[in-house]
Amino acid sequence: MRKRTRLFVLAAALALTGVPAAAQQREISGTVTAAQGGQPLAGARVTLAGTSRGVNTGPDGSFRIGAPAGDVRLRAALLGYVAAEQSVPAGQGTVAFRLATDALRLEQVVVTGQATSVARRNLANGVSTVSGEDVQRAPAQTVDKALQGKIPGAVISTNSGAPGGGVQINMRGTNTINASSDPLWVIDGVVVSDARIPSGQNAITKAVTGDNASVQDAPTNRISDLNPEDIASVEVLKGASAAAIYGSRAANGVIIVTTRRGREGRPRVSLTQRAGFSEVSNTLGSRSFDRTSAVAAFGPAAGAFFDASGQPIQTFDQERLLAHRKPVALETSASVSGGTAATRYYMSGLVQDEPGIIDNTGFQKQSVRLNVEQRLGERVEVSLTSNVLHTVADRGLTNNDNAAVSYYMVLSGTPSFVDLRAQNGVFPNNPLGASNPLQTAALGKNDENVWRIISAGTLNVDLRRGEHASLRLIGIGGADYFNQDNGLLFPPELQFMAVDPQPGASLLANSHNLNLNLNANLVHAWNPHAGLTATTSTGFQFEDRDLNIHRVVTRDLVAGQGNINSGPSSTIFQNRARVRDFGVYAQEEVLALESRLLLTAGVRADRSSANGDPDHYFFYPKAAASYRFPDLAGWLDDLKLRAAYGETGNQPLYGQKFTTLDATQSIAGNGGVVIQGVAGSADIKPERQRELEAGFDATLLDGRAQLEATVYEKRITDMLLQRTLAGSTGFLTQIFNGGELRNRGLELALSATPLDRADLQWTTRTTFYTNKATIESLPVPSFITGAFGSTALGVFQVQEGRSATQIVGRNGRDAANAPIEEQLGDATPQWKMGFSNELRFGALSLYGLVDWQHGGDVINLTRLLYDAVGNSPDFALPAGISSPRAVPDCMPNCSGLERVSGFGTYTQQYIEDASYVKLREVALSWTLPRSVLARMPGRVQDGRITLSGRNLVTWTDYTGLDPEVSNFGNQQIARNVDVAPFPPSRSFWLTINLGL
């Protein structure tokens, strides 16, 4: 039945194929140049208006195109410029186009289906796009960091300052409680992995019991492997209404990355050399002691560090001794692109080395890419994108621990008067702590080494090509393979290892992941006349994702040797997760009424091995409409109203459908299987997200300004929840589908070019975003998720009728002396704003990006660690106060002593407002004038010198290291817990770009 339906669609599509092209009877030649500056524009597409027939301009901006006799209209278009049309009367043989820059990106083509796209001016969704240029303005270690502050509707936060990845992207609020929180990354049509695989440092830190890995291991996310320089554009489909066509993995949004392509013309060489450095951008400080206070805090032994007057003999800024480096970072990248009418290529290479601010930390990346497109005759084009990547992230030892080994866990209890520095190459033991963080940093190793290949082949076949109709086949097959090695070595001579019954520990983890993609699409376009285009598309998508993790932890390293077979005691772990998905879709997009009305409807049907029934199809429909009102008023050029509805899913996690036995235990040398506490559900199905969004885009003042506004409501039902079972069943909990979560939000973006003169241009963009997530229905009792499970330390409590990310803590005691537990905060910011401005003055350009988050709370347990040992800078009671006040009486100016005295009874002193304003990016560029270029060797066509910086300044009242923090890594709900994170850094860069 299903098969017959699909064949019918195909037959209908074929039948609609139009009449053959009209014969060419004359040739028109011309040029395309930039309206500002007048330089020739290579690679512009010149077409007979209303048809797909056309040619590209050469390096000098010239073109020759065959045309029928009689009057015709030609259209010239180039990404980044406003397309233009001109009439060419019968007798005219030449034409000149002057294209204006498209500051508002109205011409930009936005992907709306698996294989179809629509011009932004018609788009029915609030899709955000970030151009490659915007990604690369100020060097970022990873692509996701480069997107911070640029996408209304997304909260992009780093989990700590550790080198490499560890970034969370939350699109339009809280989308799930227990299912995946990751957006879907699609690079050149291939779904790639953004897995976060913990290093296994938990075997050292003991953040949780046992030797297995933990989410507290500060994992990197694998999108950090990408080379930002390769990116041509990033499109962000933020919710179900835009992402429905991606089906049951799109609930957290879809990020579509397109890499650079070659253009017809001579080889263009682009060289970029960057040099820079980074430095610690914030420290906590510690308490100033005299002998009395030191002895009170650390016991009589502390007295030895003070002189006769009771003052410390010497003091140290322990944090800056740890994060002491201002290392030189270097990045070299080069690309060559070009091509002929038949063959186009883009190849690039990158070598990046950014040492970290702490010894033995840093980030390195190497990348080689080759993108080739080859035409085979008029109708067939094959292309290959291929990327080999290598990243090394040396992460140091941070985050929560129970072994007093992670840097800030120890620094919190290490007063300023002890000397931890190495003497003659030998580190002293920390006299007041279990480890010496300087020694741990110098001698310990926590390194991640990833090799990765992402490659895809695409086949494009113009099955039918007529003046009014075309049918295209697009097939994509791709693979994304990576191997991640985590090597941890903590040798026996470390202070904390020397006293261990099994001194020395080595861990080797090997994780390999293979994502296979195969999809095929048929796109039929029909445009009987210029004002109407109907695009029908259908296709299927197959995916296989296989992640296999092995870890070996070896202790008692006989000779300090790191091989995992050089110690007598080893523990082995393996985890595997594999999912296969298959989906089919069909979509119709109609652009009618002189391109004013866009109507879209589509449906995707998905099945997955992760679902209880792998053969059951889940349907995800979508529909959208937009209508443009051109020239409504003198100042209002164009007003577009739009509305869209769509549904997506969020798959069960691998294994949730299985009820399994635990086979990891043994007795007297014999392995056995026992019941595990969690029962699976054989009927488990994906969570379902339904999103309705509506908005308008207004182009104002002759295209000088544009206002985009979007409101949305998302309802997530059939959430993957755990219910408590009666223990007499033999099980404790069971996964099931239920409940409802609602997100409502608003996104605004105002782009403008207030100044647009030949010598001075100012472009500005302001974005605003707010979201509220509410648990609408919860069929299980309110429960705690994430954090440390104790209200004394603050917990995330999932509760019907409340914000999904509410933080609950203690607020005094009731008459029965039981703690009063109530909401004390919320991890979700009230709103976010981004301000981006670029000022061009002749050859000079100044750019800045400010990222402003208002509200959102962080549970600052690092502060508690400092308070608990009396080492916080504000520990002492304020002048005039003789005994600790109750926390409510001294907030917000409680001293450390008062805060810790109230611990257990109150939590609010450790729940802090995480509002911040960050100067994310600054860049000052000088475009080298021709007079300078002429004096340079070789054929340098263009050049630019840029001074830039990232995260230069943070304004915040938050007392921790950085309000962007998550001890538990990426968490939809239980983020924002600060426990001994890696300190943040700022970076400065000098960049030279040369184009040959």
Binding site: R576, L661, A682
Partner: protein, 454 residues
């Protein structure tokens, strides 16, 4: 490459090919098995002899689970039976909840000693169903596993009812996960335990010469179907005594491994290891012995203390915490691989003493008591007690020292002879509890008001 357009025919072929691919993809099998762990469905649906062997070993793992941890059976019953303290500065609940009270019906304390027992009962039921379906095992092998499984299930239910007593416990727990069994009375639970033990004995008797899976060294001498019956009968004798069926107890003891001339330590044990073989956690420095164990002890003729006090207890630096103090610790479990008795010869002799007394064989009962007094304690023999009450006093004293901190015997004995008030209170605010409550999750699953009971 010439720029010849693709023939339309080829285009149609491509379209047809795509349609075929769609159809194939739609029909393709995308199922993925569970890679990390064996699935229960497989053990239930298509069992193999190897799967059943692994599950049978799993019953032995399950039997030792939740026994030696701080919130496990031995430690928790030791505290409420005033044999032990857990004095942990980082967790005062071992005093505040178990000694001061009230003991609630949720959390690791009040709702403890429950789930792991029923997990093992569930595993046993899965094995029993799998035995009905498995191919490749002889009838004798199946019968041996069946008898073993029922015996281990009986042991699990016994440990459950020992903690919940008059509150009862569910027994018909072989239900789908969305259904729950009713909470049965104590008498019904004991009846089910007896039924399982008796069926198990019958199955074991038809179980051939050896088990088709390895038992642990903890069952040395009891590790064939025939000898395992002796363990089965020993458990039955304990249940008989708990339910006052003393004639049956004597009969069952005669078929058990009771041996007045043998080692008192002979019997069945849970064994512990390291790595994937979970350790014995009772050698924990925060576990202290109750001082009354020493002050209440008798002296030998040479005026030194009862040998059982001298060998099982040691003086340490005193620790005071939350209003209790002790300077005694146990030496019973010196390492994390020390075995913990399930039932042993010393208890069987004391069970025979009890059964003989209450079936009228008072001289025999006195002889058994004196056997323990002299061999285990080095104490002088006593004359036949003058009354039932005097016998019970002497019996409970011998049981207290012989079975010290081996699994709540003192608390269970005090309760079954209505002598809970003999348990000493360290502070006037402290309480004695007769039983733990049914866990809250059980009440909620049955829509019963909390606390709930049979």
């Amino acid at each position: 490459m010439t720029n010849r357009p693709f023939p339309v025919l080829r285009a149609r072929a491509a379209a047809a090919g795509l349609a075929a691919a769609l159809a194939l993809g739609a029909c393709g099998d995308i199922d993925i098995p569970e890679y990390d762990n064996p699935s229960i469905e497989q053990l239930q649906g298509s069992p193999t002899p190897a799967g059943i062997r692994a599950a049978a070993v799993g019953l032995l793992i399950g039997a030792k689970t939740d026994m030696t941890n701080r919130t496990g059976y031995v430690s928790m019953l030791g505290i409420v039976g005033r044999e032990s303290y857990t004095l942990d500065v980082s967790d005062p609940r071992y005093v505040s909840e178990l000694l001061v009270g009230p003991v609630t019906n949720s959390g690791a304390f009040g709702a403890g000693m429950w789930n792991p027992r029923y997990a093992n009962v569930r595993l046993g039921n899965i094995i029993l169903h799998a035995l009905d379906a498995v191919a490749g095992m002889t009838p004798a092998e199946k019968s041996a596993v069946r008898g073993f499984t029922k015996t281990m299930q009986a042991l699990d239910l016994l440990l459950v009812i020992n903690t919940r007593d008059a509150n009862g416990a569910p027994i018909d727990v072989d239900t789908p996960l969305d259904q729950v069994a009713p909470i049965s009375t104590r008498a019904a639970v004991f009846a089910r335990i007896v039924q399982l033990l008796d069926e198990g004995r019958t199955d074991l008797a038809a179980g051939g010469a050896s088990f088709p899976f390895p038992l642990t060294p903890g069952f040395a001498g009891l590790d064939t179907p025939a000898s395992f019956i002796k363990f089965n009968r020993a458990l039955r004798a304990r249940v008989d005594a708990y339910t006052g069926q003393y004639a049956a107890a004597l009969n069952d003891l005669s078929q058990s491994f009771l041996n007045p001339a043998g080692s008192l330590a002979a019997g069945a044990y849970n064994v512990y290891g390291s790595g994937s073989d979970a350790p014995n956690e009772l050698s924990n420095p925060v576990i202290y012995a109750h001082p009354a164990l020493e002050t209440d002890a008798e002296h030998k003729p040479d005026a030194t203390l009862d040998n059982r006090v001298l060998t099982k207890l040691v003086h340490v630096t005193p620790r005071s915490f939350s209003g209790v103090t002790s300077d005694l610790q146990f030496t019973l479990y010196p390492s994390n691989t020390s075995p913990v008795p399930i039932i042993r010869n010393e208890e069987l002799i004391l069970l025979r003493a009890e059964a003989r007394w209450f079936t009228g064989d008072k001289p025999g009962a006195t002889a058994d008591l004196n056997l323990i007094r002299t061999t285990a304690g080095g104490l002088a023999a006593i004359a036949q007690p003058a009354s039932d009450a005097a016998f019970i006093t002497e019996l409970l004293k011998q049981r207290r020292y012989s079975l010290m901190f081996e699994g709540g015997h003192r608390w269970i004995d005090a309760r079954r002879f209505n002598r809970l008030s003999d348990l000493p209170l360290d502070q006037p605010t402290h309480i004695r509890i007769p039983a733990f409550q049914i866990p809250l999750s059980e009440c909620q699953a049955r829509n019963l008001d909390s606390p709930c009971h049979a």
